[in-house]
Symmetry: C2
Subunit: 379 residues, 2 copies
């Protein structure tokens, strides 16, 4: 076991009607709030009106920035940060899924400095402080609601990258599974894929941490048991709740304790797919994972087999495990090959080039540019 620090300051409010607690929480940070949201689904569902009512009742002064895209871009981060600076925001309220909350984390770092949010990714800027961030989550997927990570795209540079800092933890996150009931079937499946991929990235990371491995397979088994049931019962509160909680636990630090690092190459590969073809994040991962597992099958043979045996509770070898995982991804409606998203062999060069620009690599299984063509060929 590797030395580690376990520390997660986010206060998570989970369950039915927890949103009413916003009225007590937000004023703790001040009166001036910057409200962030995405492309309007919160307006259609009535959530926007509900949040505005809570903000009015709490006497908050609101500036709002809507329209943050799935696969969020640095231009929105910088524009929202400028607004927050002008508004002298005491607190940020992010209402949405991973895109909105990830953007909000970088906005919270960007407001206090004269920089673009991308400068944290490029290393040109170091965070000094952050505007307190409160999140209302509407999609079970990324785990951003209880972690320090944020993924942003910079199309000018052809990059989509992750960044993490201790200042990025939301102070509080409000998770009402009811709010995820409006998520359509395909994106519900992508969210399940995302949480499973987070577990696998840590499982295939470096270092020997047996209890973290057990927590990892616990979360994956939860997703494997209730994910398919949920896709057949999209309005079921209890199934929504189990998946939402699993997504939070999949990437809040719990699975990392005692490990040297995760791997995360599959996420880098998936980011390139999202950049080039606007592939939803979860769907990009279910295409990248089978290829990655096949490519590293020899050095990972025992580790893959142990995973399959634990997840499926029968003796499986590496090949059988990869097949079963592919089968699960298909079962939750996710693509597992480039062909499934209509990306043809003519795109191989563009993908390899995207891997090069984004320096695709793993924390455990190392790659060079020479590995990329074969990896892409397996997708």
């Amino acid at each position: 076991m590797q030395n580690f620090i376990a520390f997660n300051p986010t206060k998570l409010h989970f369950g039915k009607d927890v949103l009413s607690g916003l009225a007590a929480s937000l004023p703790l940070y001040g009166k001036r709030v910057l409200l962030l949201y995405g492309k309007g689904s919160i307006i259609r569902t009535g959530l926007y009106d509900r949040v505005m009512q809570i903000l009015r009742q709490a006497g908050m002064e609101v500036a709002e920035y809507g329209g943050i895209k799935p696969n969020p871009i640095v231009e929105d981060v910088d524009a929202a940060a400028a607004l927050g600076r002008k508004h002298k925001a005491d607190v940020i309220l992010a209402v949405g899924g991973g895109s909105v909350i990830d953007s909000a984390k970088i906005i919270s770092l960007t407001i206090p400095v004269e920089h673009s949010g991308w400068d944290f990714y490029s290393g040109k800027a170091k965070p000094v402080q952050a505007v307190p961030l409160v999140a209302v989550l509407t999609l079970a997927a990324t785990g951003t609601e209880m972690n320090r990570f944020a993924v942003i795209s910079n199309h000018a540079e052809g990059k989509k990258q992750g960044y993490g800092h201790a200042l990025c933890y939301p102070r509080e996150s409000f998770l009402d599974p009811t709010l995820t009931i409006s998520v359509p079937k395909d994106h519900t499946g992508y969210g399940i894929a995302d949480l499973v991929a987070h577990c696998l990235e840590m499982y295939f990371g470096a270092g020997d941490a047996s209890l973290s491995d057990r927590f990892i397979t616990s979360v994956v088994r939860e997703a494997m048991e209730y994910g398919p049931q949920l896709l057949d019962n999209l309005n079921d509160y209890d199934l929504r709740a189990r998946i939402m909680y699993a997504a939070t636990m999949a990437l809040n630090g719990l699975t990392a304790n005692g490990k040297v690092s995760g791997d995360w190459a599959v996420h880098s590969m998936g980011h390139v797919l999202s950049l080039l073809y606007d592939t939803p994040h979860g769907a990009s991962l279910t295409i990248a994972y089978p290829a990655w597992l096949k490519y590293f099958k020899e050095p990972m043979r025992d580790r893959i087999a142990a995973l399959g045996t634990e997840l499926f509770r029968e003796q499986l070898d590496a090949d059988a495990t990869i097949l079963r995982l592919e089968g699960f991804f298909r079962q939750i409606g996710c693509p597992v090959r480039l062909a499934d998203i209509n990306v043809g062999p003519d795109q191989q060069e563009a993908l390899v080039n995207g891997f090069i620009v984004n320096e695709v690599n793993g924390g455990n299984m190392k790659m060079t540019e020479e590995d990329y063509p074969v990896l892409v060929g397996l997708m």
Copy 2:
């Protein structure tokens, strides 16, 4: 799934040589430290000298209170609180196992008020603030290093009870598994029993929280795999580390999310044994658990069988599960009957009376005084 708030502010420093970090952490809270420790084992092992050296180098002004007993008593809490008040302590440094850290939590609440520490247990006093608490853990067992609970005995009232409050979380805890290597075999086993019992108390609690159940069985399986190995290799750092981390995760809130409550009747039963016969806490639990499981076997039949099937990875019924758990407790050197600790049938009345005084009951499986004689008879 029940609504819940997940929040645990303790910063856990885990691994080899993490103690050196004390020098940076303690001054964050002020210069005046109240040092608490137990019955001298930290002096024999040299840990006391090491801590004092760190405190001197950090320029701390130290008042110290040693001699806190296993099964700690309110008299020590009140005397140490008086010393801390006189010293105007900015921070408490508790070095020891559950007894010292539990005492420190109540001392941290007692210093700011004109009360006995027991008044928090009896409801006569409500916490208003707490002196910040930093812990150095020397025994893997109770999980107190990352939770809000404290158990204290009041012999004048014949009570041993638990208390929990959000102000009781240690600000930081330092866990170097090396420090547990001096723990003798019997107490190492009792610690393993304690962490397993914490898991079982939550497993047999009220409410349906599937992922918490998976986390629970993960921790128990970790203890079942590495516990017996550790007892054969008491000097093995890696085994000490796995058990120490498992003990922390067994009772830091992780296993409670989404549940209505734990049960905790077995802990109440064990507390009575400790009060009457000074039975080590872990050993009291391995006597109480088989009796409790047998007593509630009918209403809990499916739940007990599911536990055994998951833990031992073969189809087991409730009876077989209870036998296997007893076998595991014996394997780690723990008593499973009153006879194993030389408490004879003549003590039944005293035990029943202890149950009455301590109002032994469960959060899930309810009891009345009429249940006590049969329960005691099964021990």
